[in-house]
């Protein structure tokens, strides 16, 4: 059993009402347009926001149960959370950021080496690049040996090259983590590349129709772009893999 959640919350423009499950060792991508309620879902799972109604359990341990008035504080949930924007502690070096809440210092040092930021360990966050900062943030989240990893558009503030590198690193790492990983993104390509399961969300609901519409719109846009130079698109190999996955998903 991994992470299970059923969440209802009244938001400003719509009501959020979703259920999800993610097994250990798998990556669930919550994908949808901006303002769909994706970030709210993982904030509710983390306990950073309270649902109006619902339950969150990890391996049978109840974190939230509104009916039974159970609400485990965020700090006791043992989660790793990578925020969309950089949230490293500016007064600490990269090393101290990663070991800040680490249960095992050796594990933290291994992560620094694995994520190729060992040489930056004495630098302050503002002196390193966006990609390096986000690698450091992932190390920080993993260093406390979390029971679940939640990532909120962790690559959205990065340039294309850094995004690609970090995406590959996460993909290679996810099998070794043996915990549920939930990845929020608005980028369907990223979701298809990384995820074992995809949960399309629109206006607070799981909305499969939306992903089909998105794919059609994207195909149309690509067709238009093919007529002109293709700024921003990545290499063909990636495109081929994406197309295969799209077909698989649509089947």
């Amino acid at each position: 059993m991994g992470l299970e959640a059923r969440l209802k919350k009244r938001l400003k423009h719509f009501d959020l009402d979703v259920s999800l499950a993610c097994e250990a060792g798998r990556l669930l991508a919550i994908v949808g347009p901006s303002g769909a309620g994706k970030t709210t879902i993982i904030r509710l799972i983390a306990g950073l926001e309270k649902p109006d109604e619902g339950e969150v359990t990890l391996r049978g341990e109840v974190w939230t149960d509104t009916a039974a008035r159970v609400d485990l504080p965020t700090r006791k949930r043992g989660i790793g959370y990578v925020f969309q924007e950089f949230t490293l502690f500016p007064n600490l070096s990269v090393y101290k950021n990663v070991t800040f809440a680490a249960r095992d210092r050796e594990r933290a040092e291994d992560l620094l080496k694995m994520f190729d930021i060992w040489s930056l360990r004495d630098s302050r966050p503002h002196l390193i690049s966006g990609g390096e900062r986000q690698r450091c943030a992932i190390c920080q989240a993993l260093a406390r040996d979390p029971g679940v990893l939640l990532m909120d558009e962790p690559f959205s503030a990065l340039d294309a090259l850094s995004r690609r590198k970090l995406r590959d690193l996460v993909k290679s790492l996810k099998g070794e983590l043996h915990i549920p990983v939930i990845h929020v993104t608005h980028d369907i390509r990223e979701a298809l590349y990384l995820a074992d399961d995809i949960m399309p969300v629109a206006r607070g609901r799981v909305e499969n129709k939306w992903i089909l519409q998105f794919m059609i719109a994207r195909k149309e846009r690509e067709r238009d772009l093919c007529r002109s130079p293709r700024p921003g698109l990545e290499d063909d190999e990636d495109e081929i893999e994406l197309s295969i996955k799209m077909k698989e998903y649509m089947r």
Binding site: R75, T87, F89, F100, A101
Partner: protein, 221 residues
């Protein structure tokens, strides 16, 4: 010139600053990061000394800290002495009088901390106390320093409240501002001039330092 009032002023300012910073930091943290009913009433109460005439505040403190007042009686039963007209008494009065000057810059420094840093600390398993000590304080040092300097200067300049609660006992409660007032009353202008001159450069230099430490002021420059 008698240097004892100057020494007393500096001692009063130093003690009040240390006590106020230690008290105002957790209070400001609570006001900024926690929700509670009636918070605005607490904030208005903290800010009351800014708008009240010092003599009014001094009068109330005189009543409360006197032998028939709640604080005075409690103090007497614990320590067996009175609070009024003692150095400890004027420290207590200074703390009440300068509290808003300690809380305001600290609150503003805490509000400048990205809330996601605090959320990240929560996610990383820190308790509210650990967040205060390991995240909020280290990332607000400039604001805390500005707060300390403002309190220090404000205490040095206190007159009305000190006079009401402490009177003018040499070596005990007769601080520089009261000594200057008495010198003028006794037409000892030379003493008043010298003591005033001693306070001006100290205050000016400390205010310059506050400006350097306060981003809003720097941006406006």
């Amino acid at each position: 010139m008698d240097l004892l009032p100057l020494y007393l002023s500096l001692k009063l300012a130093a003690v009040s600053t240390v006590v106020l910073i230690a008290a105002a930091a957790p209070l400001s943290y609570f006001l900024v990061f926690f929700r509670m009913p009636g918070k605005s009433f607490v904030e208005a109460l903290i800010n009351l000394p800014i708008v009240l005439p010092p003599t009014v505040l001094g009068f109330y403190l005189l009543v409360v800290m006197g032998p028939k007042g709640g604080v005075g009686q409690a103090w007497g039963s614990v320590f067996g002495s009175t609070l009024l007209f003692t150095f400890t008494g004027i420290v207590v009065a200074s703390i009440v009088y300068s509290l808003p000057f300690a809380v305001a810059p600290m609150k503003s420094a805490f509000l400048r901390i990205d809330p996601r840093l605090v959320e990240n600390a929560q996610v990383l398993g820190l308790t509210p106390t650990a967040i205060f000590l390991r995240v909020v304080l280290p990332n607000s040092l400039a604001g805390i320093a500005a707060s300390a300097i403002l309190v220090f200067l404000h205490t040095i300049g206190e007159f009305g409240v000190i006079l009401m609660v402490g009177g003018s006992i040499p070596g005990e409660t007769k601080v520089a501002s009261i000594a200057i007032y008495e010198a003028v009353e006794a037409l000892r202008y030379r003493d008043a001039w010298l003591m005033s001159l001693a306070l001006v450069p100290v205050s000016y230099l400390f205010l310059l330092l506050v400006n350097r430490l306060t981003p809003e002021v720097r941006r406006g420059a």
